[in-house]
Subunit: 339 residues, 2 copies
Amino acid sequence: MGKKIGKRTLEFSSAPHIAGAAAVVGKKEGEGPLAADFDMIFDDDYAGAKSGEAAENKFQTEAARLAVEKSGFAETDIDGIFSGDLQNQCTGSHYAMRSFDIPYIGLYGACSTATESLMMSAAMIDGGFFENVLCGTSSHFCAAEKQFRFPLEYGGIRTPTSQWTVTGAGFSVLSKNTGGVRITCATVGKIIDMGVCDINNMGGAMAGAAADTLTAHFEDTGRNQNDYDLILTGDLGVVGSDIFCDVMYDAGYDIYSVHKDCGKMIFDIENQDVHSGGSGCGCCASVLYGHILKEFERGKYKKAIVAATGALMNPQTVLQGESIPATAHLIVIEACAGD
Amino acid sequence: MGKKIGKRTLEFSSAPHIAGAAAVVGKKEGEGPLAADFDMIFDDDYAGAKSGEAAENKFQTEAARLAVEKSGFAETDIDGIFSGDLQNQCTGSHYAMRSFDIPYIGLYGACSTATESLMMSAAMIDGGFFENVLCGTSSHFCAAEKQFRFPLEYGGIRTPTSQWTVTGAGFSVLSKNTGGVRITCATVGKIIDMGVCDINNMGGAMAGAAADTLTAHFEDTGRNQNDYDLILTGDLGVVGSDIFCDVMYDAGYDIYSVHKDCGKMIFDIENQDVHSGGSGCGCCASVLYGHILKEFERGKYKKAIVAATGALMNPQTVLQGESIPATAHLIVIEACAGD
C-alpha cells in the first residue's frame, strides 16, 4: 500500500526492485567515457533504418527486449509498460512498443521521462496493481535535431550553451518479487518556469525545476545531501549543473561534491565537441540503466537520488514568444540490504 | 489497496469519486446538441488569445479551475495533476498547468487521454498515494488542423471519413473522500495496429483498439454488454463506430443498442458539416464531463463504460509510410449507491 510523505513524496514500502535493465546507445556515446557499461553500441546510428525516427524505434525495442531478457521474466509476465519520448506525439515509443503484447500507458515528461516512468511503475507495483512493469525512454540525435532545431544537412552553428541529444535508449523491468536495487521513494515534479526563452539553453531552463524538486524532497523527508552518496541529475549539462548547485547552495544545501549530471558524464566534454554536454530522454536513461546500476553492483553507491529534468516547450511555443517551463521527477535508488 | 483482475483490468476497491467536473467548449460545439450541458461556451474560439495553441491553454485552464471550484476543494488540497493533449510535446497542458502550484504528471495517449488520466488518477488514489487528483485534457480545432493537416487558410478539402477536432477541454477532481459518481475499475489499452495508413480515417484506425480493450474488459471481468446501460467510445465517429460495433458483434457481443460515441454526439452530424463526426482529446473529455455526468445526475445512467481511443501516429510517420497504431483505455463509472 502506497503512502505520501509531506507534500510531494511517494513512499514505496514494498520497495520494487529493478530485476533487469539495459542501455543501448549510438556510435558517439560508444566512444565516450561510459562505453564499457553500455549493453549494446550501434556503430551505425541509423541501425539499418531509413530515418532517425525509425532508428529510435529500433534502439527502444532493443533496449526493452534486453531488459526483459536480463530480468529473467517472459514477456507474458509483464503487466504493463510505461514509456514516452521526445518525438512529436511520442512516436519513438508507440512504434517500438507495438511489437510487445503488453498493456501500454504513455507518458510525456520530455527528458524527465526516465524517472517519471520509474516513479509510475513503482507506484503501480506498490499500489497493488502490477507485479512486473517494463519502463524506459529514448532519444535520437538526428530525430531531435530535425524536429527541435535544424535538419543536419543545414549545418547550423551551435551556441556554447547548447547540448548534444544522446542517441540511446534505456529500459528496466521493475518487479515486486526479485532482488536487485530498490526504488524506495519518489518526489513528483511541478511545472516550474524560470522565464528562460533561449531554446539553446535547456540546462538553464531546467535547473530551477531540479532545485525545486530536490528541495521539496529534502523538506518532505527531513533528509539532506549527507543522506546520499550520489545526487544525479538527468541532463542539465555544464551550464545547468552550475546553476542548479548554486541555487541549492543558496537554499542551504551544499551538494557540489555529491552531485553528478548524466549530460556531463556520457560524453568527454573537452574532446567530443558537445558544448554544454549531452541531453535528451536517452541521456539519463542510458546512463542510469547502463553505468549507474553497474556502479551499484560494483558497490560504489548504496543510496542515490536520480532527478531527471525535462523542458516542456516545443519549437512553436518558443517562436510564439513563450518562455520554457520545465519539470523534474526524482526517485531514490537503494542497494539491497546485505549488498 | 489496488488489485488487478484478469490480465488488464484494475479494480479500484475504494472507488474514487468525481467530486467536481467541468467542460469548456468553443462556438461550434456550443451550437451542437449538447450545448445545454457544457459549463462554459466561448463565442470566440481564440478566447482572446493570439493563436489556437494559446487559446487551448486558456480552455484547459478554465476547465481545470472550474472543476476545482465545483469540487469544493482548495488548490492546496489537490495532490497531483494528470494531463496531456495533442499539441507537439503536450504544450497545451504544460502552459496551462504551470499556473497551478500542484505536482504534475504528464501523459500522452492522444485522444485516449481523457480516460487514461482518470485511470491513473484512480490508481494513485486507490493505491494510497493521493487523496484528491485533478485530471483532464483538451484539444483545439485550429491548433490540430495546423499541426496534423493544413493551416486553415489553405482551405483543404476534407474527405468523407475525416473528423472535426473538438475545441474544448474537460477536467475533473477525483477524490477519496466525497460523494458523486465512482470510478470502479479500468482496463488498460494495448497498442493495436490494424494497418490503416489513411490519416483522414482516424475512426477506422482506432476501432480495432477499442474492440481489443472492450473484449479484454469482458473477459477479465466475466461481464458483457448487458451489465452496462451505456458503452461510450471517445471519438470513433460514424465510420469508426460502425466498424467497432461490427467487430464486437463478430466477437460475440451485440453492443449496437447500448453503444454511443462522443464524436457522433457532440455535433449535429447532418447539419454541422463535420463529416464523420468530432474528434480530439477534448471530444471525449467535454462530452464526459459535460453531458454524461449530468445524465448520471439526472438518473439516466447507473453504470457506464467509457473507452476513449487514441491514434498514436504523427504526420511524419505517416509520410514515412508507416501505418497508424492506436490504443483505448477503458474506465467504468457507476452511480453512488442510493443515487
